[in-house]
Amino acid sequence: MYIIEAGARTQHYWKSLWARRSLLYYLTRKDLIVRYKQTFVGVSWVLIRPFLTMVVFTVIFGAIANLDSNGLPYGFVVFAGVLPWYLFANLFSETSGSLITNGAMLRKVYCPRLIFPAAILLVGLVDFAVSFFLLVVMMFWYHITPSWQIIFFPLFILMAGSTAIGLGLIAATLNVKYRDFQQLVPFLLQMGMYISPVGYLNQLVAKHWEFVYSLNPLAGIINGFRWCLTPDSIPLYTLGLWYSIGFSIAALLIGITVFRLAEDGFADTI
């Protein structure tokens, strides 16, 4: 017996999310097929974007500004920052638009709506894995061998993912009512790319700015990525790390709560 009652929360939410796992599978599959098989350049898009960003940033920050790279090849430093950044940026922007994109479905079919962001997460992880392959090639090229610290790598992927999804869920909820957020998100991401240590090392930030700088949750995450891969050259950014861990957990929890509180009204307001 199932009861729908005014003002009451949906019953067995997580259970019904699990029951619809085949929908999650086919939504993810749809996005991957459309992206990887049917667009003209296909898989290379996922590689071209971070690769070109890396080239441009390496020229600007490495060759022209001549910033310090702790003895590492500058291209590698940048690429190890570009990857987590794009993982975060893609997940965040896609999640924030996910309800608008699936608006037609939202109004015609019931499913736990968290399934849309969940599919985005899976697609984003596949994209990340593909571009990560390029980083591995790069490490071979520069003879960079990872040490045991590499075991922390999944932790930083998880942090980037949960920060992006958490913030994305809040933006998606607001987006349903105020479409302005659709304009705001790309702008925020554009700024974020420069205030996060993507094209440079966060070690370059002056000491008295360090605390302010660590307030950007991406600082700790991106530093963590580089540290995992090359612990001998890149010191761990402890202050930023603890903050980022806290932030990523809080963002996800708050995001899910906000999303779920507004969820039952989505079909009416969208």
Binding site: A6, Y26, K30, I33, K177
Partner: protein
């Protein structure tokens, strides 16, 4: 007799907002700015009417509706445009939340408010069957099991690996109906879905629906075509301006009321 669905004092209110057509941030900010200055400076009143003023109007799409559907019954929902039929189906399908009242549901519901929801033009017919099946609530193994049957029913075997966007509109609806027709839920909600394909295919659809209903499923059915309801349903409700005006097993009486109404 046990019920499949019991609706108790169901109401659904929509707020119609005048003044913020786009609902954008700018208008929200402007609204509060004006409200603020309005309080500070009495003269502000003379500046003319506030173009950003927000007024609310209530609209009850459903008001205090109660009825019961027995297991295996076929309920036809009649009513003019705006009577609340679609809202009722949306609330029953869990797509939108009721404002008051409650619904008890015994069994698994599948609802078809629109054919082909979620079909993707770039994907092949095959991929779309899986995607749409999953959207409608089928599991992977269930779709695999019914796959051949679905393809055969839609009569598009030859084009199953062609992208959906290359299909004629007739082929598109046929494929969409075929997936939908192979759901076997305990309760099925249908909104005007029979108007698909040519006459021969429509007959096939009606037959399929009869087969589904004969298997013991409960069906809730909205259609403007009175004939289909007469032929198909054994219970009918008539809605008018969000209120339930008749609930009967005498289909002819319901149809007479509905036709007299309009």
């Amino acid at each position: 007799m046990t019920f499949a669905i019991k609706v108790q004092n169901l109401s659904k209110r929509y707020i119609i907002q005048h003044g913020t057509p786009a609902g954008s941030l700018k208008e929200l900010v402007e609204h509060y700015r004006r409200k603020f200055f309005y309080k500070l400076t009495p003269k502000f009143k003379d500046a003319g009417p506030d173009p950003y003023e927000v007024t609310h109007e209530e609209f009850w799409a459903l008001k205090d509706v109660s009825f019961e559907i027995a297991k295996g019954a076929k309920l036809g929902v009649l009513g003019r445009n705006g009577a609340g039929k679609s809202t009722l189906l949306k609330v029953l399908s869990h797509i939108t939340e009721p404002t008051a009242g409650r619904i008890l549901i015994d069994g698994e519901i599948s609802s078809l408010l629109e054919m082909g929801t979620g079909f993707h033009p770039e994907l092949s017919g095959r991929e779309n069957i899986f995607l749409n099946g999953a959207i409608l609530g089928m599991g992977r193994t269930e779709i695999l099991r019914k796959f051949d049957e679905i393809v055969a029913f839609s009569e598009i075997e030859k084009f199953i690996d062609t992208p959906y966007k290359r299909y004629s509109s007739g082929m598109q609806v046929r494929l969409a109906f075929s997936v939908a027709a192979h759901l076997d839920p305990d309760i099925m909600i249908l909104d005007e879905v029979l108007a698909v394909g040519d006459v021969a295919f429509q007959k096939k659809c009606l037959k399929k629906m009869e087969a589904i209903s004969n298997s013991g499923a409960t069906i809730i059915f909205v259609n403007h075509g009175v004939e289909a309801i007469k032929q198909f349903c054994n219970q009918a409700i008539v809605l008018d301006h969000g209120r339930l005006v008749l609930n009967t097993t005498d289909i002819d009486q319901a149809i007479a009321l509905y036709l007299g109404d309009s």
